[in-house]
Symmetry: D3
Subunit: 172 residues, 6 copies
């Protein structure tokens, strides 16, 4: 539902809190704080969003896609290994170690990741070309879906024993 | 490079061979034959493409994305288990067993798969909403990229021992 | 109205029946079965649709346009003469006789047609680059509109006697 | 080929002559003068074009489509009967008699027409939502294509005797 | 809210009155009469709109932007100086004196203007590539916003004394 | 010209230096460092860009537009007064004082500004929804164009004496 235009105010275009580190107390040691049209109603239809990425030492923003947006990631603090993989048949990896102030592009829909390889926390900021980019972690999607995918699919796709698949499905 | 408009002919808009089964003699027992703007130059800028999917008995079109297109998949022959997974945080799996003549939608950029669970070969045909949809197999991208992704990323993302990661990277 | 996201299920992304031949017992001997966002609610905003085309012997999918989509047509069975016409001033016809497994492209909005010239029924499948491509038969639109177009328009446009126009308007 | 940006000048964004009546000495008594990216190079990628439409007394801009644009038509002088037809299955005609200063909308890709039913010349101006809208006259496309469409298609589609079809094909 | 499709009629696609000169009895001696989706509901989603521009002798359509549309402006009567300015760092002015029948393009979002420099009233017609192009007069926006912008911003941006800024803010 | 796909490397997707403060030794005390497709070739067609904004104490990023992009601005350091103005007839100002970590949205094509009202330097980062958003400073465009706009336009639009206009034109 759209808000009555006469009632729209500055707060519909603003958000506070991107200076606060996300909670990285999780298995991956990372947290993405996304400002999309759910957080800022005024973004609706505007074709852009922004995210803060926090990475503990050795923290990982795992291989994931944004189904509806390209991204530019700029590292504000730390040392981070980033990369994306192109489509079949090349499956080419474009990767780089980013230092403070370095930026990297992740084209729309491609799998990409960020790993903190420095000795301090790392913080990055991302620009995304959609007000609703979406976030699909590859491992969460395939091993942690609700409900689970038939293990036949995963065993065959990943060349893993079904026992390992079953164990993985219980972990995600 | 664009072709001289005066030299364009019907063959620039046509393709032959979608009646021929793709070669499924591979580990996955599947083959995708895609008609995009590389195969049919006249498709350029037109926003649509088509694919034939062949699946041996137990063949799998593994979890993959099309970074730039949604898809409708219609099963022409066989019995196939299909599904896609939504974005974080739900990671919801929408799946179904398709029989001959059944269709299923895979929204743009989302991970999806097709597994032949019938007793005969299966054949499907797909419509895609881009002349260059792209095809990213998740497992090929993460374990089979060129060059390889640092195993730290994969071990942590997939909760796998580095030895298994290394072995997987040697398989893809 | 959009469905409550929490209530969405796999059936919102699926359809059954594209294996069933459309009823071609009509003047043209043809039937188009279209899967668009009316048939599959989950297609909404996804930019793709699919259609099955059945043609009796000598059946015709008459000159028509899809106002909002390009199309790839693949012939599954039969022998079919297809073509499209470009814009003024060239009015160039690109046409081809398709056999089983042949594909042809119809660019967005252009008038095109399919005529079964084989000795058996023909079946084709089409991918279209919009969830709501539209279907405008040229003859139905101009001679069979509701209400009718003033016959002056049609007599002059088609260089036909008004008696013939009137008769045609009574037929469509 | 794009022009060197440093050499671009005001003339690349301008055109002269839309005040001059188009030559309507033709069978239809009408002439469309279109300003698209061919006439004004600076329009390229800008998503808009404009046209002048001249209609003799009883002149007709025959049923046609713009495959890539919607249109607003405003009558500057005269009295004109206009209309467009929606898609199958309704084939609904929306029509109106326009007087000086009246405007009418023709949605993207739909067949529409303008007939001068007044006692003086009529002049209209049209805005189109593409720099390359295209112009497809229905009768010219189906009966006047180069090369000709097999007469079977036209006889069956229009319910006309093949002799009439042949005669029509020789006229366009 | 969308209208029930069954109740849509020709009047939803039409407008009367573009032959009537806009009221130019204002400080600028100009009036823009815009036909967008507010005036013609049927324009919604169609990507085009049209406007009439009236200019008294020495009347000015002041520097303004259309945030969501490119424009083609055609002069129907009079003699008008028009121009647009490109982005930083060039700030290049492309300008021209238009006479009756001359057209000029204003690319999407760029500041442009029209000044009547002839000895008679001037009338122009504009095509715009959005059903909701928007109209932002630069001077009205910066000096006449509701509420007012802090004068620090304007004094510094325009290199004006705060007294002049205050006076200007009281005028708009 | 597009680069040979086989020669594309990670550097085509990266940029270094966004950690370095822009040179604000200018009249406005501000500097925008923009990463668009000119700086990062790999951004081409991807629909997103990023910028760093540096503001001295009392520094101003003056009223400006991005003709082809919406923006989210997040303040990394400092205290900044920001706002944008909507279209005619409301000319409504939506403004806010941002502190560290606050974000604000500037919709596509609308005039907006940022003024440092704190006691320290301010730094912001912006996400923009185009690979080529453009940057049009209102005052630079109208008073500093090359060549100059006729002073009649500016005197009348801004209600300024021609002497002041002439002086302003000599300053920009």
């Amino acid at each position: 539902m759209c808000k009555n235009p006469k009632l729209i105010e500055a707060d519909d275009f603003s958000f506070s809190g991107l200076d606060i580190a996300g909670n990285t107390k999780n298995r991956l040691g990372s947290k993405v704080t996304l400002l999309n049209a759910d957080q800022i109603a005024g973004l609706n239809t505007l074709g852009v969003s922004m995210a803060r990425v926090d990475l503990e030492v050795y923290g990982l923003n795992p291989p994931h896609t944004h189904p509806r947006a390209s991204e530019i990631f700029t590292l504000l603090e730390g040392k981070v290994y980033v990369g994306f993989i192109t489509s079949i048949p090349e499956n080419k990896l474009f990767s780089k170690v980013l230092n403070k102030g370095d930026s990297f592009v992740f084209p729309k829909g491609l799998i990409h990741f960020e790993l903190n390889i420095g000795k301090t926390k790392a913080v990055g900021i991302a620009a995304l070309g959609s007000q609703n980019p979406g976030f699909n972690s590859v491992a969460d999607a395939v091993f942690g879906s609700n409900p689970k995918i038939f293990d036949d699919v995963l065993a065959k796709a990943f060349q893993l024993d079904k026992k390992i698949v079953g164990w993985l499905q219980s972990q995600f």
